[in-house]
Structure formats: C-alpha cells, structure tokens
Symmetry: C2
Subunit: 486 residues, 2 copies
C-alpha cells in the first residue's frame, strides 16, 4: 500500500474539519478517548505483537514490553488531560478602580495548534510510531493527527491505526481525528507533501539527522512556517570517573556497558556511543574486560537491510579513522545481523558522528580539566552519563554544569538506554540531538509542544470557555494574579 498525494490531501482536509469538534471535547471525553485507544490496542495485542516481531526482528519480550509502554503512555496522557494543568489557566481579574486606568479582566489558556503530522520511527514500531508518544501527546493536546507510518513496519502500523480508528468511532469523534498514511517506498515525497500541507500546524518526527533537517527546512519555508519537533541523533557520552573505576567490579562494569551498547542491536537513540575512560592501569583493565564482553556478543538482526548497511559503512569509516583501533568485536549473527564493535580513539576527531547500532568508541582522558574541555566540544546530546563514586565528588561537581548545557538528561551510575515514561523525564536536548531543545518527546511535558497561549480580555461570562469560567467547572488549578490556586 502506498498513499497518494490525493490521500494526503483527503487526510489533512478531514483532520482540519475534525479539529473544531475534537478540540471542543471535555477533559473527560478526551481522557476516555485516549484510554479507548489503549484498550483497542490491547484487544488486538496478539496480532500486533506478531506483526511487530516479524517486521522489526526485535525479540518478543521487547515488543511485548513496548505494547505496555505504548498503552501506558496513552493512559498517562489521559490522566494529564483530566487533571487539566496543561491548559495553563491564568486569570488576572479586573481592577475597575485602578488609577490612572482601570485594569481589564484578562484570562489565559492554552489551545491546540491544529492538525499534527507524526512520522513513525523505525526503531520503536509501537512506542514511537503510529499511536506512540508523539501521537498520544498531540491527541492529548486536542490536535487531530495524521501519521506517516514507517515503511519498515507497515503491517504493525496498519493494525495500530485500525485500533486507533476504532476508538475514534467508539467515542463518537469525527473520523478525521486520526489518519494513517503509508509509503512503502522511500516515503520522501509523501512526507514532504504532508509537511507542506497548509492544514498541518506542527510536526513530530523521530529518525535520522538528514531526515529531520529536511523536514525542518521544508517547514521553515512554508508560507506559514510551523514547528518541527525532530529527535535526530545523539552519541550519548558516558564518563567513567576514577573513583568509580577503583570501586567497581571491572568485569561486571564492562559487561553492563556492553549490555547497554548492544541492547536491541544498539538501535536506541540513547545508545552509549562514546565513553570517556581514565588513562592508566584501571582504565586499561576496563578496556580488556570490555574486549572480552564484546567478544562474547552475537549480532542481532537489525531493523532493515538499509540500517544494517549504514552500520557496516559507519563502522568501516570508524575503523579507518586516524588514531582509531579496535578494542573488541562480537560475532556476526547472520544476514543483516552485523557484529557489535568497540573501538578506541586517540582523539575525538572523526568519531563523534552517530553510527546507529552496536558500535562504541572509547576515548581516554588524563584529568578532569581536559575531560571537561572535551565534553564542552561535543554537539548537543539526548543524554550524558557520569559514573562516579564518593571520591569523585569534586570532578562530578565540575562536570555537571558542563554536561547539563549539552544534554536533555544527565544520569548517574546507570546507562542511558531505557527511557522512563513519566512526568519528570526529558527526552530531548540541544541541536542536533533535536531540532527544538525547549521540549521533550517522552513524558507528560510533551503535550506542551502542540499548544499555544491565547488571552481573553473582558470576554462576557457567558462566552468564556469552560476552562476560564469563574465557577471553574473542571476544577482546574489556576494562576490567579500570578499565584497558583487550587
């Protein structure tokens, strides 16, 4: 199946028509709809899991977990919508007696931007795809969604889209509230047509840097430019501090590193692609243990032949880079299941481009100052990790402010793969990790991407939107004259 330009236009027209009714839904109606999407996905869980495993080559346990993550996200946004804090209600009451001029009554709420285009990701056929985080947060904000399904998992996408459309129908919403388009070719033209369409008011994307930049450029050149939230590339630096190295069981530590690096064939945006290791004997021991751990790994089938080819050429380039030597290599796991690899580089030159897959680079450092300087030279990242012990406190204190300016998430003594879906999570970061650092694509704050504020001045009481009425029928927390009140 390949959607045509006519189908793009039909989908965006229906989305634009659905917008008025969909954005007028109450928190209860919208919450119930998001829960219905989750329930419909669950009702077809077996078929969805079967399709996703077959199309993605990812293990059953991972895909099963991803179903839970996807329905969990939808239910989290139902909770967010019912709570209503995302409406950001602010009221500055009138001051009729203020001199020299009376103050008008001014009220503010967030409104949805309009129909949103969502580009499904290759590496999360469920959680970052058809009814994934972008779709859930846009629907939660009150925006109809038009999904461009990823060509690597058309059957999975179609099943999830059908589940979503069943929920739309069950809840009595306009059919245009949700649409699913597919192009089993490159998808470039379909994607461009979608982003150029004047009815589309924002874009969510998870994928490659080139893909994200192309969409951002198209969006910026429209007669009416629109925001693009593209999550693009990251090598997720991990810093091992000397105290941590001295305290830990080196074999277990190296094993954990390689485990994170090879998880899901390394096909995570948060894959730990760059590790900073102290010079000296303890670091040497960690490298030897890493070599052993990598040697014990077997390549897993990657998502698509194209991704496996890109991994082969990326690791090929890496190995040919001056100052780079291979630390350890795993075993090839068959067709499109290339061997994991860890290399050591003498400098950062030529090793900071993301190689999507299970490829890691280790760089040694002499002291905290030179480490801080190296970190300061990195581009924007989704995550940075520090492994530290109490002896490393001073170094960690020096590095934390450097890293927080580079990333969306700083974590300690763990591994960046595995992104908790919650209210405090940030999956984002400075360019080129994303095209817009002011937000997150995971967690409840993601809803804010698809809204904008509107002020209502001296609007007659009987015309005020429910969220802004004096009697506060939705029981919202509101900011009155600047202070939050419940």
């Amino acid at each position: 199946m390949t959607s045509t330009t006519t189908e793009v236009e039909a989908a965006t027209t229906a989305a634009a028509e659905a917008f008025a009714a969909y954005r007028a839904t109450t928190p209860e109606q919208r919450g119930a709809f998001l829960e219905a999407v989750a329930a419909e996905i669950e009702s077809d869980k077996d078929a969805i899991i079967e399709a996703a495993v077959a199309e993605s080559h990812l293990p059953l346990a991972r895909i099963t977990g991803e179903v839970g993550r996807t329905t969990g996200q939808l239910r989290m946004f139902a909770e967010v919508v019912r709570r209503g804090d995302h409406l950001g209600v602010r009221i500055d009451p009138a001051l009729p007696d203020r001199a020299p001029l009376p103050r008008p009554d001014v009220r503010q709420r967030m409104i949805p931007l309009g129909p949103v285009a969502v580009f499904g990701a290759s590496n999360f056929p469920l959680a970052f795809s058809t009814a994934g985080g972008d779709t859930a947060s846009a629907l939660a904000a009150g925006c109809p969604v038009v999904v461009k399904g990823h060509p690597a998992h058309p059957r999975t996408g179609t099943l999830v889209a059908q589940a979503t459309s069943r929920a739309v129908e069950q809840c009595g919403l306009p059919a245009g509230t949700f649409a699913f388009l597919l192009d089993e070719g490159s998808g470039f033209e379909l994607g461009q047509a979608l982003v150029k369409d004047p009815r589309i008011k924002a874009v969510g994307f998870t994928g490659s840097r080139n893909g994200g930049l192309a969409l951002a450029e198209t969006a910026a050149r429209r007669p009416e430019p629109i925001p693009v939230y593209a999550e693009m590339s990251s090598i997720n630096p991990v810093v091992v501090l000397p105290g941590a190295l001295a305290e830990r069981d080196i074999a277990v530590f190296a094993q954990a590193y390689v485990g994170s690096l090879t998880l899901g064939a390394g096909q995570f945006c948060t894959n730990p692609g760059l590790l900073f290791l102290p010079a000296g004997e303890a670091g040497d021991a960690f490298l030897r243990a890493t070599a052993e751990a990598v040697a014990a790994t077997t390549g897993q089938t990657m998502l698509t032949p194209g991704i496996a080819e890109a991994y082969a050429s990326g690791t090929g380039r890496l190995k040919e880079t001056d100052g780079v030597s291979v630390v350890g290599t795993g075993t090839e796991g068959g067709e499109h299941a290339p061997a994991p690899v860890v290399a050591e580089a003498s400098t950062l030159d030529g090793v900071t481009d993301e190689v999507f897959g299970a490829a890691g680079v280790v760089v040694r450092y002499a002291d905290t100052d030179s480490l801080a300087a190296s970190l300061d030279h990195l581009e924007g990242q989704l995550t940075a990790t520090i492994h530290s012990a109490s002896a490393d406190r001073k170094a960690a204190q020096q590095l934390l402010p450097v890293l927080e300016l580079k990333v969306g998430r700083v974590l300690f003594n763990g591994w960046p793969t595995g992104v908790e879906v919650g209210h405090a999570m940030v999956h984002g970061g400075p360019f080129p990790a994303t095209s817009d650092s002011r937000t997150t694509s995971v967690g409840s704050r993601a809803i804010e991407r698809f809204q904008r504020p509107v002020a209502y001045q001296d609007v007659p009481a009987d015309l005020l939107p429910e969220a802004l009425r004096d009697d506060n029928p939705w029981g919202l927390t509101r900011r009155i004259d600047g202070a939050l009140e419940r």
Copy 2:
C-alpha cells in the same frame, strides 16, 4: 557611535563567560538584581525621559508612563523569579521495588538557554527596548543579554544601558551579564553578526516583518539553529456586531475607534488597522461619524523620517487599490506628521498588509457567515476585537472559535491598543504576527522563551541543584509524580 564586529565579539564572549556565574544566582539574588535595574532607571528618570521624548517625538505623558511600565516589568519578573514556578520542578521519585525493573529517581528543572540577543523596537524606546520586556524576561530566566539598540533613540538606549550596567556592578555580577551595542546606520550587519554569533542562543526582536524574517532565516541557517522570537506585523481586526452598533452612542463609538487608531501616531503593534462593520444604515452612520472624528485629528510627528515615508507610500498604495475609497482624513501636523486616514474597502484584496501608523480600513459585511469566512481568511494576528451586545450572543459565539485560532488575544468591547503587563497577557499570535506562536513577549509567561528542561536521573543528593533537592530550600511548588505540591 557605531559598534564594530570586534565589539560584537567582545560582548558575546563576555556574555558567554558571564553565563555560568549569572545562571548560578539564587532567586533572591536574581530578583534583587532586576529590582536594582528598575531602581537605577528611576534614579536617572529625568534624563531618560528627556532623551526619549526628544528622540521619539512621543508626548511626555506617554514616555513617563513607559518608564513606569518598564520598571514595573522588571519588578514583575523579580516577583516571578522569587516565586520560582518558572523553574518547573518535577520529581518522579525512585521506586526501587517496582517490577520488572526498579524505577530510577528522575527530577526535572528548567535551565536558561544561554546569552540572548535583544533587538530594541522603534516604537517603544523603553518598554520594548534596552531594558524592556525581552531583556527583563531573558535576564529573569538567567540569560546574559546583548542588546542591539535601536538607531532611532541612541541616547535613550545608552542611558538605560548605563543604568542596567550600574545595577550589574552593584549586584556583584560579571560585567558581561549585560551589553549594549549600537549602529546608527541601518544596523543590518551588526544585527546579522550578532545572530550568527555561536555564543548567542536565542533572539528577541520587535519590528518589521522583513526585519524579523531576515533574522529568523539567519538563525535557522546557523550550524546550530536557535529560536527567534520576532514580533512582526498585525492589522488587529475589530468586529462591530449589529447589536452593539444599535445600542451605542454612534458618535462616542466612532470617536473611540479613531482615538485608538491615532494613539501615538498609530505606531502600535496592536493598532486597529481593519474594522468589520455591518452593511446597512447603522453602519453608514458609524462611517459618517468616523469621517467626522478623523477630520478632527491632526497628524503627530512619527518616530523617524523613514517611518513617515513608509506611511506615506503605504497609504498611497491603499488609496490606489481597486475598490478602496477614503472615508475621512485628518490634518497634516507638519514635517513627518502625516494626516491620519480611514478608508473603506469593498473586499479584503490588497488591504490586509500592515500600514504602520494611523491608517484604518473599514470593510462592510452582510451577515455572520460571510463575516466568519472573511475572518478565517486573515493571516495570524496579535489581537482581534469583538464589539457586541447581548443581542449579538449567537454571532459572538460563532466568531470566537474562528478568532482564537487567528490571534494571541481576543478582546471584547474595547480597543486593542494598550497591552496590560500581567500574568495572563498574551502579546503574540500565529505567523506572521510573530515567528513563534507558542509564547508571548509581554507578561510573565515571556520568561519561558529562554529556558529548556533538563532531567536529572539518579543524581547523588549532594550534587543536585538546589531547586531539585529533597529539602526544597527555595520553597518551590513542585510537581511530584505528576501532581502539584506546595
């Protein structure tokens, strides 16, 4: 005085160096600094007012009011910073016993983006210039600011910059926290150099559509693109509904319209440039009263000769447009003080480009449906106004959802000039009113433009930023597991 490229680089370098210390200030320190800027402006109030009146040709009362607005904004942001809600603290506590995997401790706060470039506006030499809303909100967020002063009021800008720098020194902050650059020529190259500078991380701008678009394009083409908040152009549609027209004293109503249109020589972003009036006798009477009211006006000296010339060519083009006839004209007030004018247009063709100054266009409408269709065809606007009486309820109800999708502020039974500085205000709107509809340049929400979220996962307690510590030393309202807690 004209700043050189070397001065741009010196200013941005100093700003980048100041960033670490400035962003580390406590709410109390930062609040006290913003108050010190306000106090220093007040201490030099007489000289500032004298310079601003001489340079802007605006009346003394208006400029005196603008000083109060400027210091008021600074003090409002001091209050915002001390309250600390802008830090957006969220905590999802660890769940060590969760199955199948324990949940890490994840905490989120907003951090400032980095040095911000602010472009002063021509029409508000104080409130939207050197220490105006953009500067106040960026400083409040923790960003050093480099101002490009507007060439129309160099002396005013320099005096306010000196006051701001005195406050920087008094508060023991790095000198690079604030810088002021000036180019008494076109300023184009200086502005471009500033926006291209890699140390600048965001831009605030108030001015023309061409100026704003040029900066947005430059910012998007940087190796690291940055957000541009450009407030550009708006014709601020005003809708007069039949019931209002029937109920009001027509002469007073028309007088109020012309008063708003000619206020400050019409040099407001929120000037009511387009008015929709019912067809029929009552509308005719309003037009006649408008003609009389305009005839009684005298042109005021505009901000610059260039702005007066642009007004002359804009009104010239307007008068030559097919279907446009002049309703009334005021008297020229001398050099660069062109006559106010109100014209009637038979359609919207050719009359929807902003003419900066006291020029209004009236369009007649037959019924609510055709009015709604016309409004739906307008570009994005800062404001829309509805004049309605109780008999107009149904029409107002139909128009409100159309207008709220077009604007940043909807107001009833008033005039759009005069923007209240408060917590609920939105001075923004869809493109081309601004380059980024997701925000406001007036009011306390403006601080959010210069921040981004960072998540802290399993960060040891003794390394956590103060805003995120368990003991909550700043007494912040925080979102714990999704719910606000004080």
